[in-house]
């Protein structure tokens, strides 16, 4: 693939605009709160699009297209079973506690609800995870640009990291979120032509259905047993592992996305952020997964396109770029690559802004230096941005060992987010849950996740303690790791909580269901309230599941 002047011009224009947005917003930054949390001032349409754009990074575009080619339309379960119900849940039930408690971060909510050690555990594990995720994004970017354009791996990641660093340093979270919205528009508009052209060339949905095994074009029909579908999962593993634990664990407790909603300018906007975001989110599979399926169908046709081979299978991670090389001429190719760059940057900036807030407020201010002037924390926040990006570059080199990026990321979420969701469910909806219970549960859940990975094997991964069980795919292994982690955390939290003294009810007001008034939003039109919008989103999501049954 060779770029021409106009392609570089589009890329340069994009760089100019994102840096310009950062430059323009730098005058809004006067305090650490402006820099790290946007001082709860961002309008709803920005928070909603930033909510999904922060998640629309490398793993989403490259990984989902790869998974589409590898597993077929079942990959859409990450959206229609996973993300959408979880986004509705966090908006309707959890945001009143996050936003209403006035906590600045998810770990800080844990401190208010439970205790300092629970906050510390979450802050440290979350910080490690964000750096890891950011490193994966960078790795994907560097590898892709090396393969496709022959650019140097190091030069690609340093260039993208430098741009993210500058606009985040200038305008903090506000700049990151505003840029995420521009990046979201660019990703959708830059990839939509690829979806249309590849699907059309493969003969539309009917043409793809005719050229692929039926397991690739049905999302539910072959889930009765693990051996009947390419993902190697059965219905319980999918619904409980992905649909419940992993997705709710990510969308409801991961500060990377929750931070966007917490930056909203009112409680109503904070609750509506994930719900409004659910509408565009449920249609993202049409531009990231369906092209992967089309790539597989085109490979089976004699049209001059084939997925690159890798060993005895295909190099699925190259699906998106090889499609671009075949369907995008000079000009649109520049847009496509810029959209890819935008997705990597939005993912990276999302991780970095979440990391610098948690590090500055939940680790540095809590354990290293309390009571300093706000200007000091603003300075630490900026320094942490540089530090976080440098660490991400380091981890980018570590992720070269893995094939499918989504599999790896699911494992990380299994270890960190899955048990955490049990902690939040009990913390928000059961006033008897105690700090000792939550902390013990988190340690038990994380240990259970690691133990399951160490005792089971899938595609030669895991089994570093013993090989007690073989899963048909790493995807299935990750779902079950999440189920065990969540269950262990839930059970241990309940048992230890019942054995320890609960906090008085008056200390839990605003933090626990039953002791907190549910916001009514009288000034908001009926149709724009969380409950009716959630019902509409839920109905559309169910309809999509039925259509692709």
């Amino acid at each position: 693939m060779q770029l021409h002047f106009i392609d570089y011009l589009i890329l340069a224009l994009y760089f100019g605009f994102v840096l310009g947005i950062g430059w323009f917003l730098k005058k809004k930054i006067a305090t650490s709160s402006d820099f790290l949390t946007s001082n709860k001032s961002i309008p709803l349409w920005i928070t909603s699009l930033a909510f999904i754009a922060a998640n629309l990074g490398a793993q989403e575009l490259v990984g989902m297209c790869a998974s589409g080619a590898k597993y077929g339309i079942m990959t859409a379960h990450f959206y229609w079973v996973g993300a959408i119900p979880a986004m509705i849940f966090v908006g309707v039930f959890m945001m009143p506690f996050y936003y209403g408690s006035r906590a600045r971060s998810v770990p800080e909510y844990l401190k208010l609800r439970f205790d300092e050690k629970t906050r510390g555990f979450n802050a440290i594990s979350f910080s490690a995870m964000t750096i890891f995720s950011s490193g994966i994004s960078m790795y994907a970017l560097g590898l892709l640009f090396q393969l496709v354009l022959g650019w140097s791996f190091t030069a690609s990641i340093v260039l993208s990291a430098a741009i993210v660093l500058v606009y985040t340093l200038l305008g903090g979270l506000t700049s990151a979120m505003y840029n995420e919205v521009l990046q979201f528009f660019l990703i959708v508009l830059g990839f939509a032509p690829l979806a249309i052209l590849s699907i059309y060339k493969a003969g539309g949905w009917d043409g793809m259905t005719a050229r692929l095994s039926p397991q690739m074009t049905h999302s539910w029909r072959y889930l009765s047993e693990a051996s009947a579908n390419p993902m190697g999962v059965e219905i319980f593993g999918l619904v409980a592992g992905l649909g419940f634990v992993l997705s709710f664990g990510y969308w409801c407790t991961d500060y990377l996305v929750v931070q966007r909603a917490m930056a909203a300018d009112s409680m109503a906007s904070a609750r509506l952020t994930p719900i409004m975001a659910a509408f565009p989110k449920m249609f993202i599979p049409f531009i990231v997964i369906i092209p992967g399926i089309a790539a597989m169908a085109l490979t089976n046709m004699d049209v001059g396109y084939s997925l690159p081979p890798k060993g005895n299978a295909y190099d699925y991670n190259q699906a998106v770029t090889t499609l671009m090389a075949q369907f995008y001429p000079t000009g649109l190719l520049g847009v496509g690559l810029t959209a890819l760059m935008a997705s990597f940057m939005s993912g990276m900036a999302g991780n970095v802004t979440a990391f610098n807030t948690v590090w500055t407020y939940d680790i540095y201010q809590s354990y290293i230096r309390r009571g300093a002037a706000d200007s000091h924390y603003l300075w630490v926040g900026r320094l942490t941005t540089i530090f976080g990006i440098a660490l991400s570059i380091g981890t980018a080199y570590l992720t070269r060992l893995y094939n499918n990026l989504m599999d790896l990321l699911q494992l990380v979420f299994g270890v960190v987010n899955a048990p955490l969701f049990a902690t939040f469910v009990l913390g928000m909806f059961w006033k008897r849950a105690t700090g000792h219970g939550a902390f013990s549960g988190l340690v038990a859940g994380t240990s259970a996740a690691l133990l399951t990975h160490g005792l089971t094997v899938a595609e030669d991964k895991g089994g570093w303690l013993a090989e007690l069980h073989h899963f048909p795919s790493t995807m299935a292994q990750n779902f079950w790791i999440a189920i065990f982690a969540w269950s262990a955390c839930f059970l241990v939290t309940v048992v230890v909580s019942l054995m320890t003294r609960p906090r008085p009810a008056e200390q839990l007001r605003g933090l626990v269901y039953g002791l907190t008034g549910i916001p009514k939003h009288p000034g908001v039109r009926w149709l724009m309230r969380p409950a009716p919008l959630s019902v509409i989103a839920g109905v559309i999501c169910i309809a999509l599941n039925v259509v692709f049954w």
Binding site: F5, I21, Y178, V181, F185, L189, K201, T330, L332, V335
Partner: protein, 61 residues
């Protein structure tokens, strides 16, 4: 807060115009698997999208 629709609208209009030019006067490499003038059509949709963003921003003012 500052209206993001203005710079976003300007960005998509500029990129759209560049794509329309690339569609009208083909430069560089064509796409091997399609004969459709995708640059022109995508460019036109970018211009329309950018225009809608600017119109929405102007209407709010």
């Amino acid at each position: 807060m500052w209206d993001l629709r203005i710079p976003s609208g300007v960005f998509f209009i500029i990129v759209g115009v560049l794509l329309c030019i690339a569609g009208a006067v083909p430069v560089g490499m064509p796409a091997p698997l399609t004969e459709t003038n995708v640059n022109l059509y995508t460019g036109m949709s970018f211009v329309v999208f950018g225009g809608v963003l600017l119109w929405l921003a102007k209407r709010k003012r």
